[in-house]
C-alpha cells in the first residue's frame, strides 16, 4: 500500500497542465513534429504496404516498370498459391505454416507451463543461491543462436532429433523458459504472498492456493510473456534453417526464405506468404492487447 503518494500530491491546488504544443515552442513546432512523424511513419510502413500491394497484384503488374502504385489489377491468385499446390492438394508452404503453428504454439505452451511455476517458486521460496541460479538461467540467453547452432546440430544428429518438429519445439522451449521465468518472477513478486498464506489457513494446500488465488492474478503477465515467447518461436530463423531439411518439417521462415533464390523469384508469392506469416502474431497480440499493456506496465495487480 503506498504511503508516499500523499506527500507528492498534497501541496496546493492542482495547476493547469501546459498544453504540449505550447511547451514545445508554439504551433510551428507542432506542425514540424507532425510532418516528421508522418515522414517516419511512411518510411517505416512503406515496406509493409508494398508487401501487401505486391501480394494482391497480378504478376504483370508486379514486374511493371515504372512500378504501379494504384492502377493495378487485384488478384487473390498468390494467396491461392500459398495454400494449394499447382497440381492440386496442399502446397509445401501451407505445410510449413502448419509446422510453424505447431512448433511455436507447443513450445510457447511448454515454456509457460514450465516457466510460470518455476518463477513462482523462485519468488516464494528460499532457494539456495537464488541470485546465482537466476543469473545462470538468464545466461543461457546470452549466446546468440548462431554460436550454439553447430554443436546443437551435431548433438541433434546423434540423438535423432535433427529434422524433427520435436527438435525445434525443444530448442525453442529451452530458449523461452529462461525468458518466461524472468518475466514471470517480476509479476509473481508483485502479488503479495499473503493471499496464499490466507488461503492455506482457509484450508487449501500450497498448490491449491497458488492455483486458485495467485494464478488468476498472473493472467495479464502470462499473456504478455506468452506473446513474447510466441513471437520469438514464430519468427525464429537460424535454428529452423540449420536443424531442418525436409519440406514436411520446415517452418515458415526458412520456407519463405527458400522462395527467394533460384533463377526467377515469384515476388507475388513471396509477398503473399509474408502477409500470411505476419497475420497470426498481429491478430493474437491484438486479442490480448488489454493484458499486454497491463502486463508490460506491471500495473496489473491491485494491492
Amino acid at each position: 500500500m503506498g504511503v508516499s503518494v500523499d506527500e507528492t500530491v498534497s501541496t496546493g491546488p492542482v495547476r493547469d497542465h501546459t498544453p504540449p504544443a505550447r511547451r514545445l515552442g508554439g504551433r510551428g513546432r507542432s506542425v514540424l513534429e507532425v510532418a516528421l512523424l508522418t515522414a517516419l511513419a511512411v518510411v517505416m510502413l512503406f515496406p509493409v504496404l508494398w508487401m501487401i500491394e505486391t501480394s494482391i497484384k497480378e504478376n504483370r503488374d508486379v514486374y511493371a516498370i515504372p512500378a504501379k502504385f494504384f492502377d493495378f489489377k487485384v488478384t487473390m491468385d498468390h494467396f491461392k498459391d500459398v495454400f494449394f499446390a499447382s497440381g492440386g492438394g496442399r502446397s509445401a508452404l501451407s505445410v510449413s505454416f502448419l509446422n510453424s503453428v505447431v512448433v511455436a504454439g507447443v513450445s510457447t505452451v511448454l515454456a509457460t507451463v514450465l516457466g510460470v511455476p518455476a518463477a513462482w517458486a523462485y519468488s516464494r521460496f528460499a532457494v539456495k543461491a537464488k541470485k546465482d541460479q537466476l543469473f545462470f538461467i538468464l545466461s543461457t540467453r546470452f549466446m546468440p543462436p548462431v554460436v550454439v547452432v553447430i554443436p546443437i546440430f551435431l548433438m541433434y544428429r546423434q540423438v535423432g532429433l535433427f529434422d524433427t518438429k520435436l527438435g525445434l519445439i525443444l530448442i525453442y522451449t529451452a530458449f523461452n523458459v529462461p525468458f518466461t521465468i524472468w518475466m514471470m518472477k517480476g509479476f509473481v513478486d508483485e502479488v503479495p504472498a499473503e493471499y496464499e498464506d490466507a488461503a492455506m489457513l482457509d484450508g487449501y494446500t500450497r498448490l491449491q492456493a497458488f492455483w486458485r488465488f495467485t494464478l488468476p492474478l498472473l493472467v495479464p503477465g502470462i499473456a504478455a510473456t506468452a506473446v513474447f515467447a510466441l513471437i520469438f518461436s514464430w519468427n525464429e530463423f537460424v535454428f529452423a534453417i540449420f536443424l531442418t531439411s525436409s519440406d514436411t518439417v520446415r517452418t515458415a521462415p526458412p520456407a519463405i526464405a527458400g522462395l527467394i533464390g533460384g533463377t526467377t523469384v515469384d515476388w507475388g508469392l513471396v509477398a503473399a506468404a509474408s502477409v500470411v506469416f505476419a497475420l497470426p502474431v498481429l491478430v493474437f497480440a491484438y486479442l490480448v492487447r488489454k493484458h499486454l499493456v497491463a502486463g508490460v506496465t506491471l500495473g496489473a495487480v491491485r494491492r
Binding site: M1, A126, P192, E194, Y195, D197, A198, A199, M200, L201, D202, G203, Y204, T205, R206, Q208, F213, P216, L217, V301, R302, R303
Partner: protein
C-alpha cells in the same frame, strides 16, 4: 479444545533476530494478547503458530500434540492478517466463504454462516463489493468475518483493530470481547496498543525484540511489571523513573530528594536503583509526608483528567490530576507519593526488585 503452546521459538531474517526463544502457553478458551512495539516479532510469532514461517528452532504444540512441521491447512487455525490479505478478485461474500468452501461445505451452510457473521460485524451491505471498493476499516471487518466464520482450534489475530477510527475501535473492542465470550474459542491476539491489551486480555505476554518480557494477567503486568521496560511500555501516561539508591531507611534520589524507603525492599545500601512512579499514584492536590518537591513544567489537559508534568531536578514526573487543576510553569509544587504503590528496579539490569515482602 484449543490450546496453543510454543516453546523456544527462534527465527532470524538475515541479521535480524525476529524471535529469540519465545515460549508461550495459551490455555483453552482464553483471550491471550501478545503485546509489543513495532518490530517486536508479534507477526512472526503468529505466523510461526500458523505454520507460515520456517523456524530456526522451537516447537509448536496444538492441543498438546506436536504440530511443528504440519502444513498450515492441517493445523485448523484461522487468522486475521495485519494487511487483511483479502482476495482481490473475490467479493466480500466469497472472501468470508472461502474457509468454508475449502472445507467443501454445502452452499446453504455457507450462506447461513456468512449471513450470521456479516450481521454480527455489520457488513451486510458490503457483501457484494470487492476489497478494492472497501475502506480500510471495512476490509478489516471482512477479514475478521473470514476468520470467525469457522470454529477452528484457535483464532490468530494480527492487530485487527488498528486501522479503525477511535470510536469504532472502542466499539469493536467490546464487540470482540463479547464474540469471544459467546463463541468460547481460543484467541491469540496481537497488538501494540496497551489499552487494547489491558482491556481485552485474560492473559498478556509482553514481547520486545523477539523476547518475552513478562506473561501475566493485565493486572499483574500493570501492577507488577517484571522490568523497567515493561513498566515503561504498559501504562499511559508512561511511568516516571527516577534514579536513586537506598540509604538506611531512606531512598535518596540522584537529584537530592529523599523518601521513606518502602519496607518490602531488601536492596542493600548504595546499589543504583530506579524508582518507578505511576501517574495515578502521585498527586499534586493532597498534602502528605511522603512527598517530592519540584516545579511545574507543563499541563496536558486530556478532558477527563489533566497530566501535570513536574520537574524534579533534571527529571520529569508525570502526575495525574483532576481536570480543573491550574498552575503556571515554574511554580513550586509538592508531589505526594503513594509509597505502597511504588516500583523499584535495578538500574543495571532493569529487573524489578523482589516484591515478595509487599
Amino acid at each position: 479444545m484449543g490450546t496453543v503452546a510454543v516453546h523456544g521459538l527462534c527465527k532470524s531474517f538475515g541479521k535480524v533476530q525476529a524471535l529469540d526463544g519465545v515460549t508461550l502457553d495459551v490455555p483453552d478458551g482464553s483471550f491471550f494478547v501478545v503485546l509489543g512495539p513495532s518490530g517486536a516479532g508479534k507477526t512472526t510469532t503468529l505466523r510461526a503458530i500458523a505454520g507460515l514461517e520456517k523456524l530456526d528452532a522451537g516447537s509448536v504444540h496444538l492441543d498438546g500434540r506436536d504440530a511443528t512441521g504440519d502444513a498450515p491447512a492441517a493445523r485448523d487455525l484461522a487468522m486475521v492478517f495485519q494487511s487483511y490479505a483479502l482476495y482481490p478478485r473475490h467479493t466480500a461474500y466469497e472472501n468470508i466463504a472461502s474457509p468454508l468452501r475449502a472445507r467443501r461445505c454445502s452452499s446453504s451452510e455457507v450462506a447461513a454462516a456468512v449471513e450470521q457473521m456479516s450481521s454480527l460485524l455489520h457488513i451486510e451491505r458490503l457483501l457484494q463489493r470487492r476489497p478494492a471498493q472497501l475502506s480500510g476499516g471495512e476490509m478489516q471487518r471482512v477479514a475478521l468475518a473470514r476468520a470467525l466464520v469457522r470454529r477452528p482450534r484457535a483464532f490468530l489475530m494480527d492487530e485487527p483493530l488498528t486501522n479503525l477510527d477511535l470510536k469504532l475501535r472502542v466499539e469493536m473492542r467490546t464487540e470482540l470481547t463479547r464474540i469471544h465470550r459467546s463463541l468460547g474459542g481460543t484467541f491469540v491476539y496481537v497488538t501494540n496498543d496497551q489499552v487494547e491489551a489491558l482491556s481485552m486480555a485474560d492473559q498478556v505476554a509482553v514481547l520486545k525484540e523477539g523476547k518475552v518480557q513478562q506473561v501475566g494477567t493485565p493486572t499483574e503486568v500493570y501492577e507488577r511489571p517484571a522490568n523497567q521496560w515493561v513498566a515503561g511500555f504498559v501504562g499511559s501516561p508512561p511511568i516516571s523513573l527516577l534514579a536513586c539508591h537506598a540509604e538506611g531507611d531512606r531512598l535518596v534520589g540522584a537529584e537530592g530528594w529523599t523518601l521513606p524507603r518502602p519496607r518490602w525492599t531488601t536492596a542493600e545500601d548504595g546499589r543504583p536503583l530506579l524508582l518507578g512512579l505511576r501517574a495515578e499514584d502521585l498527586s499534586v492536590e493532597q498534602r502528605g509526608n511522603a512527598s517530592l518537591s519540584g516545579e511545574l513544567y507543563g499541563l496536558e489537559p486530556l478532558g477527563d483528567r489533566t497530566v501535570v508534568d513536574v520537574r524534579v531536578g533534571t527529571e520529569i514526573l508525570k502526575v495525574k490530576a483532576r481536570p480543573t487543576v491550574t498552575g503556571t510553569p515554574g511554580e513550586r509544587l509538592l508531589v505526594t507519593v503513594d509509597l505502597d504503590r511504588v516500583h523499584l528496579f535495578d538500574a543495571g539490569t532493569g529487573l524489578a526488585l523482589s516484591e515478595a515482602g509487599r
